[in-house]
Subunit: 333 residues, 3 copies
């Protein structure tokens, strides 16, 4: 049984198949692949687009989504085996995953890190435990990667740029008042490398390198797929001739959970906001950001409101790629 | 593209058309006007009836509703243009409205004032921004007016009184432990004036006059439609010969956000609760209140439990008028 | 009009009819009994299984469920008649029950005790008021009893043990960090006695006797149905030769709301966790617990992960028994 936990587990042709199906949905294709089936959407964190697009997507496929707010509406959950459960957790994932699997045909989970200990969080323990114990396919709605967002981004890029192999992809760190999850940055790295792009990763300081698991995977993918990966702190070099710019802010992993020490490194990126001046250095690049997005902090209004911005289209693509994923997973024997 | 933000934007014949369609739904008419369509219900405040009746109404029309709790389940939103978003808001309405418009065919919003600054709140900034940026019709589920409640009230009055033009409509301020939103009072004024009723607005003190936008609109509507509008603090004169009594409590706008100064004015209305004695002065009036409603604070049990009370019917009408509105808006070219 | 508030109001043949229908659903039978109908699920407390299984069950029957979180998403409710509602409650059950009855065909309610005053809570005031004022059938999703869980348990026991009459049923108190609701314990007592089992109720101290209403009902049922009821603090005697073990933790009623005084009694049950050693004393008993369940506090991993554990099956049965209940109630003239 196949899950959709990370695009790293799916081959490029498989992913292209999903993208082609998503493009067909976007063009008006219909499917009743979830007729008589249901999906549980389990949220440990807030959501606007994910909640809406999965619910509506399931409905358009003839299925039924139930939305569970795991914090507040349900019971606190334990996911470590062998624990004496005398703390706050009332329920073990071993039980909840097996029970939900009896009710629904797919389980989708959003669970951000708790920002306490990256050594623990990098193992993605909750969704990993859910996938281990569920008897139906599990979909990642963002944990420490965000594979649905990746596909939405790639669909938008393919629509605007055609074949992306060999195109110059700039992943740039941008400012934000708070240290954020690295999930979307990890994901941008995975999908751009998987599809053979030349990646420039622009960070204000070396401490913003992403986890070695994702840096390493990207290096392997570009080695296989014909792209390249370069990390830089040089703004000009990064923007020069880029075909696509992707913005994301994240917290530096060496200071994970102890963020005070990150301040000097963060200060080096104070002027990393994407402006028309920076965009002028590119090869008429398209520009995007997953949503939510702070205007005039990460990206200037003039860039967001320009035709180059494809963040709205990317968010719209979420509906289509998720329908393709649900159809794919529900169709397994 | 037409929105349903305020009845003030709709003509009396248009509104009567919606009411007639609602009456037909109440009598058993069916429609699949939302087949294959969906509506997002975006709540910034609590709801029982609105959430239930919109969701069920959409389903009965063949459509699909998604419910989004904007506080807690989604991201804090900014709606002012040009802001440097370095505060709590993670997302601008420009993005959320456009993205939701890609997923759904209708967007309905509940957003009460924050009770800080009436000068700001009276511009209804959030729903106004949503309507400006959404590319699908927007429905008001209560902001500083409550147009769905208005239609439900009017349907109940027409059912009980027939043509309401020229009937005596008493809008009476009633006690409540807290200063409340003026939305339903504004709305009662709008709909009664639009349909040519003779309005008596009973308030304990002049500070309880409603915003000039609504007072002025009501004066214009009665001038066009043949009714009248009179504001009074005289309980006897207000109840004498009334055909319909509508109860609502609200905070005095001059003390908006600084409520301590309102206490002496509020005290003047301490005996404004609707009692059988007051009802005995009317012309066998019908009596109603939007829900929720505090018994024995706003209206005495004996009145609520009398046949004259039509609050339950009014609440039931919400389902029918909202189906008529959704059908109307979804049917636009 | 029939409600499903407690199995005590339903005869054993009626309940067996519901169980037989649930077994048919489990075997693949389908029904469109809720076609064009809807159910409101009103939650005053968290839920995972109940929320999921009612929503999906209603959908599978062709109906539509709406989920209302009564704390937070809706208004605080009053249920006592004649109250001057100048406290926190904004709405009386008299109104909410009648209004919801206009929108939906069934109302299901979860409302745990507030753990303040058992004399008040034992009257189950909220659901009782709802059932009094609603004009559609009301279903109990757990208050001070949990009748849906009872049926799920009985379906699991009948599947594993065949006819349960005369079988030895051990209801054992187990440890938990907090004093919990007695609902599931009351319910286990009701259903096992109703179906003629020989009940051993194992508690660490006499203060853990359940409310006399349920103890008395169980005595009456075993008197009618051929079983027996015995309360004991003797672990060995309780486990010896048992056919089914059911675990539950609850707070001692004499200390309800004043839990500090319960500590010495609770300490006497410190070693009541269900272990392989205890299970070895039984007649190869099946073992179950409603979920959520704290592992290695109430039941040791080795027992939960053994074939004797039927808690997952019991939870899965929730879907089927609730479909049978909804079909039964919706089919009333």
């Amino acid at each position: 049984m196949r899950n959709f936990l990370s695009t790293a587990d799916w081959s490029r042709p498989e992913l292209q198949g999903v993208l082609d199906r998503a493009a067909a949905f976007k063009d008006g294709a219909t499917s009743r692949a979830l007729e008589g089936k249901s999906i549980a959407l389990l949220f440990f964190n807030p959501s606007l687009r994910t909640r809406s697009s999965f619910d509506i997507g399931a409905h358009q496929l003839g299925g039924h989504a139930i939305v569970l707010d795991a914090k507040g509406q349900t019971w606190p959950m334990e996911f470590t085996d062998g624990t004496v459960m005398d703390g706050t957790a009332e329920e073990h994932v071993r039980e909840s995953a097996r029970v939900l699997s009896q009710y629904v045909d797919l389980i989708a989970i959003r669970c951000f890190p708790d920002f306490v200990d990256w050594k623990v969080e990098r193992e993605d323990p909750l969704i990993t435990a859910f996938a281990a114990h569920a008897t139906v396919p599990v979909i990642n709605m963002e944990t420490i990667v965000h594979p649905c967002q990746e596909l939405a981004l790639m669909l938008a890029m393919q629509s605007r740029l055609g074949d992306v192999a060999g195109k110059e992809f700039l992943l740039t760190w941008v400012p934000h008042p708070k240290p954020l999850n690295t999930a979307v940055a990890n994901s941008a790295l995975l999908i751009a490398s998987k599809f053979g792009m030349n990646i420039r990763m622009l960070i204000p300081d070396d401490v913003y390198r992403l986890d070695e698991r994702y840096m390493g995977a990207a290096e392997n993918f570009v080695a296989e797929g014909g792209g390249s990966l370069k990390v830089t702190t040089d703004v000009k070099a990064a923007y020069d001739g880029a075909d696509a710019v992707y913005a994301k802010s994240w917290g530096a992993l060496p200071f994970f959970g102890q963020w005070d020490g990150e301040a000097p490194s963060r200060a080096k990126g104070a002027d990393f906001m994407i402006t028309p001046e920076k965009m002028a250095m590119t090869n008429n690049a398209v520009i995007s950001h997953c949503l939510p997005m702070r205007r005039n902090v990460k990206i200037a209004d003039a860039v967001v409101d320009s035709p180059a911005f494809m963040g709205i289209e990317e968010a719209g693509n979420r509906l289509h790629v998720q329908k393709a994923i649900m159809e794919n997973l529900a169709g397994q024997a």
